[in-house]
Amino acid sequence: MSMTIKHTSNRILIADDDPVIRHLVTSIVTKLRYAPVTVNDGRAAFSLLKADADFKAAILDMSMPFLEGLDLIRYMRSEKRLIRIPIVLVTAEQSIKLMSDSFVAGATAFLPKPFTPDQLQNLLRMLLAAKLPSTRAA
C-alpha cells in the first residue's frame, strides 16, 4: 500500500545568527513569495525541526552558536520526515573541504558569502522550480 504525502506549505526555514544576513535572506525569500521562518541559532533550528517538517527549503548558516549548519544537515538527512527538504548551506568560509563535507552530509547547494540577491534568488528558483507556491502567478 502506497502513501501520498501532500506538502502545501510555502515556508522556508532561515537559520543565521547574523541579523544582516538573516534580513537579507528574509527579504529575498519574501520577494519570491515564500514565507520565511527565521531562527537565530542552530539550537533553535534544531528545536523547530524536531516539531515541524513543513518547509519547502532550508537556508542554513554554517557557523552558528550551539549547533553548526553541517550538524543540522546531518540531523535533517537522518530524519525521514525532513529528508525531502532541499538545504542551502551558506558560509563565509572559502573551503573546498567544507563544500565537499556539506555535500557528503546531504546539502543540496552551497552558497559562499558574500552573495548577491540575484545569486540567492536564482539558486532558490532552481531548487524550487517544480515546487512554486500556489500564490505565485503561473
Binding site: 534580513h23 563565509a92 568560509e93 540575484d118
Partner: protein, 145 residues
C-alpha cells in the same frame, strides 16, 4: 551623526592629500563597494522599504559588538573567540560591500593565534571600521533625505 562625520574627516586626513576638500561620494565608494550596493538595490521593489537602509541600520547596530568582542578576545588571548567574531563580522561586512573591514577580518581570522599580528590588525580594523561607519552613515543620510 556628527561623531560619524568627524571620524570620516579623521579618515580623510590620513588618506587624502587635501583633507580639507571632502568628497563624500569618494569616501563612500572607498569604504563600500558600489557594485554590492547596486546589487542590493536591484532586489528592491517600488513600495518596499529601502533594503540598503535596513541593512545599514542592522549592521551599525550589530557590528560594534563584534569589534568589541575581538578586542576582548585578543586581550584575553582567546584565539577561538577572536576567530569566531572575525568570521561573523567578515560575513556581514562582505554582504554589504564593506570591503576593507571584511578583508581585515579575514586576515584576523587567519592570524588569530599570532599576538603581534593581531594587535596590528585590530588597529587597522579600528581605522577601517571608523571609515565604514562614516560612509554608511553618509549613504544612509543620502537615501533618507
Amino acid at each position: 551623526m556628527v561623531a560619524d562625520l568627524l571620524r570620516m574627516d579623521d579618515y580623510l586626513a590620513q588618506s587624502l592629500t587635501r583633507p580639507a576638500r571632502v568628497n563624500h561620494a569618494a569616501v563612500i565608494t572607498r569604504a563600500i563597494d558600489p557594485d554590492v550596493i547596486a546589487s542590493l538595490d536591484e532586489a528592491w521593489e517600488e513600495g518596499e522599504a529601502d533594503l540598503v537602509v535596513e541593512l545599514i541600520d542592522l549592521y551599525l547596530g550589530d557590528a560594534p559588538q563584534w569589534v568589541e568582542a575581538m578586542r576582548a578576545a585578543a586581550a584575553g588571548d582567546d584565539a577561538t573567540a577572536l576567530k569566531r567574531a572575525a568570521h561573523t563580522l567578515k560575513g556581514s561586512s562582505g554582504s554589504l560591500g564593506i570591503r576593507h573591514v571584511a578583508e581585515t577580518c579575514r586576515m584576523l581570522e587567519l592570524s588569530c593565534s599570532e599576538s603581534a599580528a593581531v594587535d596590528e590588525l585590530l588597529q587597522q580594523l579600528n581605522r577601517d571600521f571608523a571609515a565604514a561607519r562614516a560612509a554608511l552613515a553618509a549613504e544612509r543620510m543620502r537615501r533618507v533625505t
